[in-house]
Homo-oligomer: 150 residues x 2
DNA sequence: TCGATTAGTCTTGATGTCGAGAGAACGCCG
DNA sequence: CGGCGTTCTCTCGACATCAAGACTAATCGA
């Protein structure tokens, strides 16, 4: 048993990747139990809940989906009566996506349950550990963004 | 400016998710520069390089793809002459996927370049920080796996 | 004011992956 | 030795996403 694990770039990324997928699986299951077919459908509603009515592209940037995908997701949500499209009063090119009352109610309840589930994942960590993890991940994320821009 | 960031479960997961996608984008670009169409194609060859010849399902478990996806990826690699299928001598159900010499040479060179690229992402971290990040991520991953099994 | 550029949305076609199921082979147990 | 559940691969249909292009509207410069 070596005390020092392999912390090379590729291996750190592997661990990151593996844990990510484990959490994501848990995440997806939690969301499906709440009645959503796909992660994107939940994500769109959540953005609308926390950030207010948004144009299509703006939602897409936040959840890392293209406008085409958002169009489809909004179509699905609209078919269920959870959101509605309203053309912006100030810019007629943009379509603002609004939560309906039903949608608002649904996503509020779902998000709170989902938040509890996610809390479970990190439940064993002290607040120091949370802070450290947060700081390190944030830093790596920024670094990767910089590299992507370069 | 608060000194303590929001380290709730949902927010930690959000940071994890965002940084993951930043790295993944960088990862994908690096791999595409090396001439691979998709991440899966690279991943399959990499598994074969580091773990030796493998049956289809075994590859799939390692890279988190279903057997159907691996079949397709192996088809692509086989068409390029990078791998070949050999039926197992001991179990006639299984098809062992082997690297060809061309494939071996290609993935060795590609992996080493790719490893350098990934090293860049974590280049700013001290070895203590690497260890910490490694330990925390590993722990969360295990926790999520446990929750998935439960 | 007019023309060109930019921004925003939607449509369409392609693609990689998944999920379920079929078919073959294995191995255990009675 | 014979049956039965299991394991393995592949096929096929469905699907969410993406990428590129079309179309409309706004903006900015001349």
């Amino acid at each position: 048993m070596s005390e020092n694990p392999d912390t090379s770039g590729p291996h750190l990324w592997l661990v990151w990747w593996k844990a990510y997928h484990s959490i994501e699986k848990y995440d997806r299951q939690s969301i499906q139990k709440l009645g959503f077919a796909t992660l994107s459908d939940f994500a769109v509603l959540e953005v609308l809940l926390h950030k207010g009515p948004q144009p299509v592209n703006s939602i897409g940037r936040r959840v890392l989906l293209t406008s085409g995908s958002i169009t489809a997701a909004v179509d699905r949500a609209e078919a269920k009566g959870l959101v509605e499209r309203r053309s912006s009063p100030t810019d007629r090119r943009v379509v603002e996506v609004h939560l309906t009352e039903a949608g608002q109610e649904l996503i509020e309840r779902a998000f709170s349950k989902h938040a509890e589930a996610l809390e479970e994942v990190f439940a064993e960590f002290s607040s120091e550990e949370r802070d450290t993890l947060y700081r390190l991940m944030k830093s790596v994320g920024k670094r990767a963004d910089d590299l992507n821009r370069a």
